[in-house]
């Protein structure tokens, strides 16, 4: 589904990604962990070109993102993204947030778009919030709306950029539950996270990044129970 080959990304002189190789298969849930500043969010943002790639190649769904002829908007509509700070559109109701993409990109009528949005709202447990504005929602509810908004475009892959980091601890559970449900339905997911419990339980594979490279990767069991790399060991000893 996603192939990454020798991906480099620099901001000015600062090289944040120093040659990443990775592959994400269909229906796989890959969790990316690592200390702050390790480049894991930048890596994720390169997968839908929110960050321009400095060198290397990224293939999504068979198409090369670095090909200048690529229609990036079409790729982005197939790759969902959920942000740490939700980024809901505050001037639109919850329902309008979710239906915007289907209406403007897929050309759905209001009724068609609502037929897509309402079941998604039910799925994230917020059917009663369709007509309210985001400001009246809690952080956890906002993030669940953001997930529904992404799903409304029927993406083939979902990228999560620390989706629970900005939430009060008691609100994390609901968001993680939605993500678990999604994983069990077979959604391909790449999750940058500090939730080691989630990575252990839901992840098919865990990638540990530090200083712009992939230090170690393997099944959650391998990474959490028997890490080989000394940096992985020291990181995990601090967070577990």
């Amino acid at each position: 589904m996603i192939q990454v080959k020798d991906l480099h990304k620099s901001f000015g002189k600062l090289e944040v990604l120093k040659g990443i190789d990775a592959e994400i298969k269909e229906k796989e849930v890959v969790c990316v962990i690592g200390p702050s500043g390790s480049g894991k969010s930048t890596f994720l943002r390169c997968l839908n070109l929110l960050e321009e790639v400095t060198s290397g190649e990224v293939y999504v769904d068979g198409e090369s993102l670095t090909d200048p002829k690529i229609d990036i908007n079409s790729i982005r509509s197939r790759v969902g993204m959920v942000f740490q700070h939700f980024n809901l559109f505050p001037h639109m109701t919850v329902l309008e947030n979710i239906t915007l993409g289907p209406r403007k990109i897929k050309g759905y009528t209001d009724a068609q778009a609502e037929a897509v949005a309402l079941p998604l709202l039910e799925k994230v447990g917020l059917s009663d919030k369709a007509r309210v504005y985001p400001e009246s929602l809690s952080g956890g509810q906002k993030q669940r709306v953001a997930i529904a908004r992404s799903l409304a475009m029927e993406p083939k892959v979902m990228l999560f950029d620390e989706p629970t980091s900005a939430l009060d601890p008691e609100l994390v559970g609901d968001v993680l539950q939605v993500m678990k449900d999604l994983a069990s339905e077979g959604m391909t997911m790449v999750v940058v996270t500090h939730e080691m419990g989630f990575a252990k339980e839901v992840g098919d594979r865990v990638i540990f990044m530090d200083e712009g490279i992939v230090m170690e990767e393997g099944s959650p069991n391998q990474i959490f129970e028997d890490p080989q790399n000394s940096r992985t060991q020291s990181f995990l000893s601090k967070v577990l």
């Binding site: 908007n73 079409s74 982005r76 980024n87 559109f89 001037h91 915007l100």
Partner: protein, 218 residues
């Protein structure tokens, strides 16, 4: 009643009100075009394209760095000479307000759009909207709300600026007053009423704007 109507304060009113019509016409028409100019230039100031950015910046700096009276004379006399035409005074006046206010509105637009969280653009792009669609459906509606108070301010400023058109004999309120008291020798009474008429528009506008500002909480 008779005494009041015959007072030197009331007698110029028909002339002044006639002038007020022009004052308002120039202000509204000028700001209408000024907003269009300002919207494009303001976005131009945020463009990554160096040519568009440069052009917008030069325009804004030139207008903001020169006095309006000079701009008015330049447009009415200078442009007429250059293009060898006889520009209608009203056209010159509306053009001058549009070009002048456009530069200030450009800064209002730039500031408002710039103040919208970067994540909004990212969220729009990540669901597959183009840059233009994201601007239109997501950034602009939010930014526009934040523009309302400063645009109201600009309305008050431009309204007062129209008095400068008396320099090219456009029949706005101040010009009407000048021609009136030239024959009656009552400049004190006449100009008092001019100020009263301006204030009757500007003070309610300011009060209204303060209320909007509080409601928007920006």
């Amino acid at each position: 009643m008779e005494v009041f109507l015959n007072s030197e304060y009331i007698k110029p009113m028909p002339y002044l009100l006639e002038g007020l019509v022009y004052t308002l016409l120039i202000t509204f028409a000028g700001l209408f075009f000024g907003f269009i100019i300002g919207a494009f230039t303001g976005l131009g100031r945020l463009s990554k394209n160096k040519f568009i950015y440069g052009l917008s910046s030069v325009y804004v700096e030139v207008i903001r760095g020169t006095p309006l009276l000079a701009q008015i004379l330049f447009i009415y006399f200078g442009l007429s000479q250059l293009m060898d035409i006889n520009m209608h005074k009203l056209v010159a006046a509306i053009l001058a307000i549009a070009l002048n206010a456009g530069a200030y509105i450009a800064e209002i637009v730039r500031g408002a759009v710039h103040s919208i969280d970067k994540g909004q653009m990212e969220a729009g792009r990540s669901i597959g909207l183009t840059k233009g669609q994201t601007m239109r459906y997501i950034i602009w509606p939010q930014a526009f709300k934040r523009m309302i108070p400063p645009l109201g301010n600009q309305f008050v400023i431009s309204l007062k600026d129209t008095s400068l058109f008396s320099a090219i004999a456009v029949g706005e309120m101040v010009y009407k007053a000048k021609t009136y008291y030239a024959t009656t020798f009552t400049p004190f009474e006449t100009l008092t009423m001019v100020c009263v008429l301006y204030l009757l528009i500007t003070i309610p506008t300011s009060i209204y704007l303060r209320r909007v500002e509080r409601r928007l909480d920006v």
